[in-house]
Symmetry: C2
Subunit: 642 residues, 2 copies
């Protein structure tokens, strides 16, 4: 028997008994210690680093740990095993995520402008932004010996005097405080509720001045979660925020999380990670930031991929990854905020944008809704770049969709200096072919120094390195220079900012492993596009418009994305960047009943193509894992200098 | 500062700091120590007795404590105050109630026969016993690559193949376990739910053999609570039980409890006393007794008086007792078992029989429903004898109702040797006028010795004592003999069983205070009848039928009840005893949707007369506080011998 003491940054230490030979990462999970392990323990991501401060463990050396770090006791927990008592320092995963993620969505004017333009387009397409919520200002007569109507009837009459309904439904929560609230406010109250058909459904009875009706639109991504609070009456955005998805410590991709939720107690653990550890703190923070009582949130809408939807509800998600690959549900209505103990009115309905397949979920139906491709004659391609890449192709007559596993590269994951598009992120870059000196744009105020690289920056850098022939078609460094460095194993990297140039004092660079990861990601996207078009007997020429969505930054340099063979080589004016369309769609479905109906229609008209079993997809993927492609005739406009 | 240690029978002792001068009963309540105090601390009931085992308190001597008891340290806590440290023995109130109450309702064949006859009459009157609950046996195909329907749709199709509905609603609780339950049982499951109009509302998804659909009908009286579990499909009674209402320690009558709930935290306290301390244990016990999972309870129905209904829901009940005397609600639909955390399916609807006034509640509307007086041409008088006496008079054209405060005498409360009609209760009695020797019938098996006297027994004894001129019209003892005893203060009593004759070794007798309490109770009833008839310009002669309800025993000797001036002096064949009609009504409303509708109709046609403000009622009451009445011409058949 040995004893491991986990010394957790910013939290109480946890001690656990174990046997020599036990894997340190698994032990941490058993002890409920959160360690960031997006690759789920296979040694590839290098994120599960801990530091041994007393005693020893037995570990393999990894390329993710430098010699200096090794000497300081840093190890990857996934490839370490217990050999005796030890004290293990665990960096705080939550604060790491918070500082890395911050408020990524709608944090720039550009993003807000895109968001607002899309809402305007939806309205122009006939999706009116109305909902059934009301806050009624009710002034009633106080009961007397001559007016002996009980409170319940008195309220019903007052409601019926305001809205034309036949029935008034009073739930227990309102009933229990009706008598006291009426008397406390001398029979002048605000009643919040929903007017549906012939019935007014009361939700709350409040002081007359408490009239807020707030909606909460949420985009739950595999990696990040974004949210806006919105005034249900005016549609005005009241607050916005985002953070990492707390489930990340159970695996960076959905497959690892599905495996994890299948273990004993796993469903509860994964559900808690998204609800208690992720959504609840964001909602609470947003409410606090605008001085809002969370009970004023009367409607929520969630756009999430199929697996995230299952994990959110605590529904067994095994069927998503096991043959015959069918989720437990596409659409389902009936969730209330109280069912998940979300900090909102417990009776607030939670709309879930419907899934259409195991790997095309509500985030895509919501995003497709927002893109308006279902309202056009022209053929459009909609691409959502997240941890998975999802595609929808078609027009008002038909819609085809598929998904490919791109990994977290587009969101800055799987990239050594990757980060979300927040302050300090290099979001755009050019390289001088002669001097190999880079110039870049950084998110943030004037004078902001670089912290890392976000998705759009990575596309630019790789495109520029390739254009300048600093890397070859396989992503290997082929030129030498001041900014091209190699480590002891010979692995090349390009330094964007030397230690003294960065905000953090750490070098910001992109290495061959990063580039390889990214090439696989872009290869997955392009081959998916090719296969999807193929499945309807079409080619790249048929595309009239390409909508690119995703939290990839405040925009993508489409030319560069074409240059590296990620997006099809069509005229640049056919491309539009539409930001986080999933959040845009969730917002629309939250405040607009019509948008919600429309999303269900869009979903009903969409066909799902399961790529993994589609003949030819794997060959197409392998061919696409080059810059720009093994078949360069597909990318006539791609140029290489030098 | 002093310290009182409450040494509670059958529970952990509780110690509390206090100041000299503190009232011992109030101190006990502050310390959350349950002491039986039906009179709410005014010294009249004598039930709050405790025994000082160490130290001393300062108390008044009370007629409720004998000299021997005084010497042993027995005191009334309500008239004791702290003078220093002391240890106070507190008899266990719960076990006292349980032993005193046991299963009082439907415990005898006679009661069951009445109950069943009334259900048969309801059916004969066109109230069919149908409800919307169903347990569907669903066998679905397992998903394959060629049959990729998600679980939600698969279930919807399976339900629609069984019942003709357009929509299937799946609540969160079912959604969350749908995927795992289907797979655990190889897609053969039982789905329980309600079929309402075009929609099937799922409530639960279970193993295929778990098909139980159980209803729970509850009569919540001020003093006692009775309950039956019933098979929702066959209407068969599965289990039955009763116990004291745990609120009794906050006052025997509704007024004291309303005052108590008005104090800080009072609503929660009173609600917990009925829900957590009373209903939950009974339901749990009944379920255990028949090996039933409480989740199988899919429907509940509660018949209770107006105050009990308010306290149950935690609704402020002040308006019931304050001018203009209007309750917060008459009828209200929308309660679910989960709202009160009752041990039942959380989505099980809880029907509450509607109130019609502050003092005529759902117990009376349910009882009136069961009595069928609303279905007849003849004029009927319905009397429910409980802690309050409630009356309804009328026929199919009109119904008038009123209530009077009778106190708990009819249920054996307020009477020194009173008890419910359980084993050992003297339920009928005659007295030989010459020898003054009593003969009595005792509830229970052959050879059962007497334990106390239940309501029907008290009526008989007082009637017989008066007939034999042992007591006078004021209830005072006027003959001497072996069985007539007097205490040191000269208070007379009639001994029914000497110490050696009783089951408990304690004398069973009825004293002048008991008789006086009872005369006030019967006086309240008679004057209410008189006033109610008066209000519609009718007299006793107009009555075609009298239905007497209440948990007063397995029957009442109507002749004796007339003899003492409690019931009007009409032909004996006009009387029917209909048992606990409130529970009978609740049972009907639980299993029959039609009965539930009918009760709402009955309620809508009933007029409520507020007796307390009705001119002449007080005079009538005073006149009725005699045996049989100050105006003996009202009781021509009353005879007195000796």
């Amino acid at each position: 028997m040995s004893r491991i003491l986990f010394d957790i940054e910013g939290a109480k230490p946890i001690s656990i008994e174990c046997n020599p030979g036990d894997n340190l990462l698994e032990l941490a999970r058993r002890a409920n210690v959160a360690i960031d392990a997006p690759c789920s323990g296979n040694g590839s991501c290098g994120k599960c680093r801990v530091r041994i401060t007393e005693g020893e463990v037995e570990s393999f050396k990894s390329r993710h740990i430098t010699d200096e770090e090794w000497d300081l006791g840093w190890r990857l927990s996934c490839n370490s095993k217990v050999i005796g008592d030890a004290t293990v320092f665990v960096p705080d995963i939550a604060s790491a995520y918070q500082s890395r993620m911050k408020t990524a969505d709608l944090s720039t004017g550009k993003e807000v402008a895109i968001f607002e333009e899309m809402q305007a387009n939806l309205k122009a397409a006939g999706v009116d932004f109305c909902n059934e919520f009301m806050a009624l200002d009710l002034v009633m007569a106080e009961p007397t010996l001559d007016d002996t109507m009980p409170d319940v009837e008195r309220l019903e009459w007052a409601v019926k005097a305001e809205v034309e309904v036949e029935f008034v439904k009073i739930p227990f929560a309102v009933m229990a405080k009706l008598a006291s609230t009426l008397r406390e406010h001398n029979f002048h109250v605000c009643v919040k509720g929903r007017c549906s058909g012939d019935t007014f459904h009361c939700m709350d009875i409040c002081a007359p001045e408490d009239t807020a009706l707030v909606g909460c639109a949420i985009d739950i991504g595999t990696t990040t979660v974004s949210m806006v609070l919105v005034d249900m009456t005016t549609g005005k955005i009241l607050a916005k925020g985002s953070s990492g998805n707390g489930q990340i410590r159970y695996g960076a991709d959905v497959i690892n999380r599905i495996i994890e939720q299948g273990r004993s107690g796993g469903r509860k653990k994964l559900q808690d990670a998204i609800v208690k550890e992720t959504l609840n703190p964001i909602i609470a923070n947003l409410c606090k930031s605008i001085g809002l009582n969370a009970r004023s949130i009367v409607q929520l809408c969630i756009a999430a991929n199929t697996t995230m939807n299952h994990l959110l509800l605590g529904v067994d998600a095994q069927s998503v990854r096991m043959e015959p690959y069918i989720p437990s549900f596409f659409g389902w209505e009936g969730l209330l905020a109280g069912d998940l103990h979300l900090p909102a009115h417990p009776l607030a309905p939670v709309r879930i944008a419907p899934n259409i397949g195991s790997y095309v979920g509500g985030d895509i139906t919501a995003g497709t809704l927002a893109s308006l491709i279902w309202d056009k004659d022209e053929m459009s391609l909609f691409i959502d770049l997240g941890t998975n890449g999802e595609l929808v192709f078609g027009n008002r007559d038909f819609l085809m969709s598929c998904a490919c596993s791109a990994g977290p590269a587009f969101e800055g994951g799987d990239i050594s200096c990757g980060m979300r598009a927040t302050d300090g992120a290099i979001e755009a870059c050019t390289v001088d072919c002669a001097t190999m000196e880079p110039s870049y744009e950084i998110v943030g105020d004037e004078g902001q120094r670089p912290v890392g690289i976000c998705g759009s920056g990575i596309i630019d850098i790789i495109s520029e390195l390739f254009r300048c022939a600093i890397i070859n078609a396989r992503g290997q460094f082929v030129r030498e220079g001041r900014r091209v460095r190699r480590d002891a194993h010979g692995m090349g990297r390009f330094v964007l900012a030397f230690e003294e140039e960065s905000e953090t004092g750490r070098e910001i660079s992109i290495n061959e492993v990063d580039i390889d990861n990214f090439i696989r990601a872009k290869g997955a996207i392009f081959s998916a596009i090719e296969t999807l078009l193929n499945s309807v007997d079409m080619t790249v020429e048929c595309i009239d418009h390409v909508y690119v969505a995703g939290g990839i930054g405040s925009g993508i340099n489409m030319k560069n994305a074409v240059n590296i063979g990620m997006l099809p080589d069509v005229e640049l004016e056919k491309f539009s960047y539409i930001g986080n369309s999933s959040l845009t769609g969730a917002y629309a479905m939250c405040v607009s009943d019509r948008a919600n109906e429309k999303c269900a229609e869009v979903m009903a008209n969409m066909t799902y193509l399961e790529l993994s079993t589609y003949p030819g997809y794997m060959d197409s993927f392998v061919a696409a894992c080059f810059l720009p492609h093994t078949d360069s005739s597909l990318f006539p406009s791609c140029v290489q200098e030098g």
